[in-house]
């Protein structure tokens, strides 16, 4: 409790979240998340299981979480006041994931910025959110895409006009990722 200035708040909070995730585990073991190396607590990796009864079922998807400042490179953000960023590496084919893999979800947007103009302030980032809650939201987003705020327009169109084809592409990419 002694240090509260600068990014030590962010660091302590990330430590706490990591400890809780490791000792408690994710609900139903749906994902794991933690820093990539012990020397850099501001870059995390998450492994997410494809949710059941969706075309993503059976896949395991890696995402990078970065707790850095948006504009100033390599400067730790003022997490948890500001949210982190999440990027699937390799990218996932999904209406709400940009072609470069960056996740577009309202819980990761601060109430100030609204890239899609559809989001309600109540579903936005707030410091009481956490890595765990965001990843759980992303998992439910995988199951139920939100076409109102699309990030991958081609994927949105395909999902709307030809859902079986969308599901086929997703299933195929999951198989490819698993090396089948």
């Amino acid at each position: 409790m002694s240090v509260r200035a600068g990014n030590s708040t962010a660091l302590r909070r990330l430590m706490t979240e990591y400890r809780m995730l490791t000792s408690q585990g994710a609900p139903d073991g749906m994902f794991t998340a933690g820093p990539i190396s012990e020397s850099d607590f501001f870059t995390w990796e998450a492994l997410i299981m494809g949710p059941k009864d969706t075309p993503f079922e059976g896949g395991v998807f890696a995402a990078k979480l970065t707790f850095f400042h948006t504009t100033k490179m390599r400067q730790p953000s003022d997490y948890p006041l500001s949210p982190f960023k999440m990027k699937f590496e390799p990218p996932l084919f999904h209406p709400n994931i940009y072609p470069d893999g960056t996740v577009c979800i309202s819980i990761l947007h601060t109430p100030g910025d609204d890239p899609t103009m559809y989001e309600q302030a109540s579903e936005r980032w707030s410091p009481v959110q956490s890595v765990e809650k965001v990843i759980l939201s992303v998992i439910s987003m995988l199951a139920e895409p939100n076409l109102e705020s699309g990030a991958n327009i081609d994927c949105c169109k395909l999902y709307r006009d030809n859902k079986p084809e969308y599901e086929r592409i997703v299933r195929q990419s999951v198989r490819e990722q698993l090396g089948l």
Binding site: S2, R4, A5, G6, S39, F41, P76, T110
Partner: protein
């Protein structure tokens, strides 16, 4: 590019030792313990509350956490109910509970761990001497709790008065239309009036307005009228036990913000945004410190150090100088080699073109040189 580990961490640093509710066994072994520990933690920083403050909606956060948050956005982080730092109320009951819990935590933690052992081994004789030790500790913690409750009573008598002072008498500033607690309206008005550059007539009417407002508040609170007048005169001398009032930085000139900073002995370098951010952060640190009971407050020097650390962390990304050049060359050897490799063909071309120059007309040679220049610029 920066080093691979820009923020080297010492994981044994005591400042990085954290606790969390999962220190306790799951609810099957110790029902409610994780929930109890979790309920005494601020949901912003994840630590046991420091000077917990309640919002109008009933949610509580550490004073500094919520003040820093409200600087960005005026709502409750949990439920989005509108909130403002003038509506923050100390939650003394919660503070007492947290203080007692932070004393009892390690004790209860060991009890919880011991619980499993006792159940497994029927012979509990070995536990008795331990228990006695605990009892001494427990007595001590009881004492400290008793001490606290006396303090609470003392605070308790003060508390309702203060509440009616600040929460119910909120006034709109006639100049900038901000909501300001009535007991700091005079200071706030002074700031607003001196900064707004109205004509002479405007100034006169504003001065009259100011007097009217002062009259309104003095008649309402006769007890504070003397204090209010005194405050105006002693303005240069900062009070160490009164919260810093809200400042609307956009209505102030750079010089005025500098004056405010120097009143508190803070650095006055930087542009207006830096100055405003510094004063804002100082106000959060200072006022949050006042929300702790006097015995647990930090010294001004300590607060100033925290402000410096914060500013340093704000800047750290901007200025990244290479200190160990040899190590830097080693780490980025691949990149340097690639650059050298990329530069080589153009060098060869240059040499070749110079040779050709002897036979070629002058014009084409200068063209070639231009191309090389551009190449080199784009690579560097």
């Amino acid at each position: 590019m920066s080093d691979s580990t820009p923020y080297p961490l010492d994981l044994n640093d005591p400042d990085l030792e954290v606790q969390d509710p999962t220190d306790f066994p799951a609810s099957t072994d110790a029902p409610g313990m994780r929930e109890l520990d979790g309920s005494l933690r601020c949901r912003i920083c994840g630590e046991l509350y420091t000077a917990p403050m309640s919002l109008v909606c009933g949610h509580s956060f550490c004073s500094l956490c919520i003040r820093n948050y409200l600087t960005q956005k005026q709502d409750c982080p949990s439920c989005r109910h509108t909130a403002s730092d003038v509506h923050l109320r100390k939650n003394l009951t919660l503070e007492d509970a947290v203080r007692a819990w932070s004393t009892a935590r390690s004790f209860v933690l060991e009890l919880c761990k011991g619980l499993g052992k006792i159940e497994k081994t029927p012979g509990t004789v070995s536990v008795t001497p331990r228990k006695r030790k605990r009892a001494v500790n427990a007595d001590r913690s009881v004492e400290s709790i008793v001490g606290q409750s006396q303090q609470t009573q003392y605070n308790g008598t003060n508390y309702p008065e203060r509440e009616s002072d600040t929460s119910q008498v909120l006034a709109e500033c006639p100049v900038c239309h901000q909501m300001v607690p009535s007991d700091s309206i005079n200071e706030h008005l002074d700031g607003c009036l001196t900064s707004s550059s109205g004509g002479p007539s405007g100034l006169a009417s504003k001065l009259k307005q100011k007097k009217d407002w002062a009259d309104v508040f003095h008649s309402k609170e006769p007890s504070t009228s003397k204090r209010g007048k005194g405050k105006e005169k002693e303005k240069a001398e900062p009070k160490h036990d009164e919260p810093i009032p809200k400042v609307s930085y956009h209505t102030l000139k750079e010089r005025q913000i500098r004056e405010k900073l120097s009143e508190h002995g803070l650095p006055t370098n930087g542009d207006k945004d830096t100055l405003s951010a510094r004063h804002q952060r100082w106000r959060n640190l200072f006022n949050a410190n006042l929300d702790s009971p006097p015995a647990r407050r930090k010294s001004l020097e300590q607060l100033q150090k925290e402000l410096r650390d914060w500013e340093k962390s704000q800047r750290s990304g901007k200025t990244h100088a290479v200190t160990d050049t040899k190590a830097h060359q080693k780490i980025h050897k691949g990149q340097f080699d690639a650059l050298v490799e990329a530069a080589r063909p153009s060098k060869i071309r240059k040499v070749e073109s110079e040779r050709k120059d002897e036979t070629r007309p002058q014009q084409s040679a200068t063209k070639d040189e231009n191309i090389i220049d551009i190449d080199e610029v784009s690579k560097s």
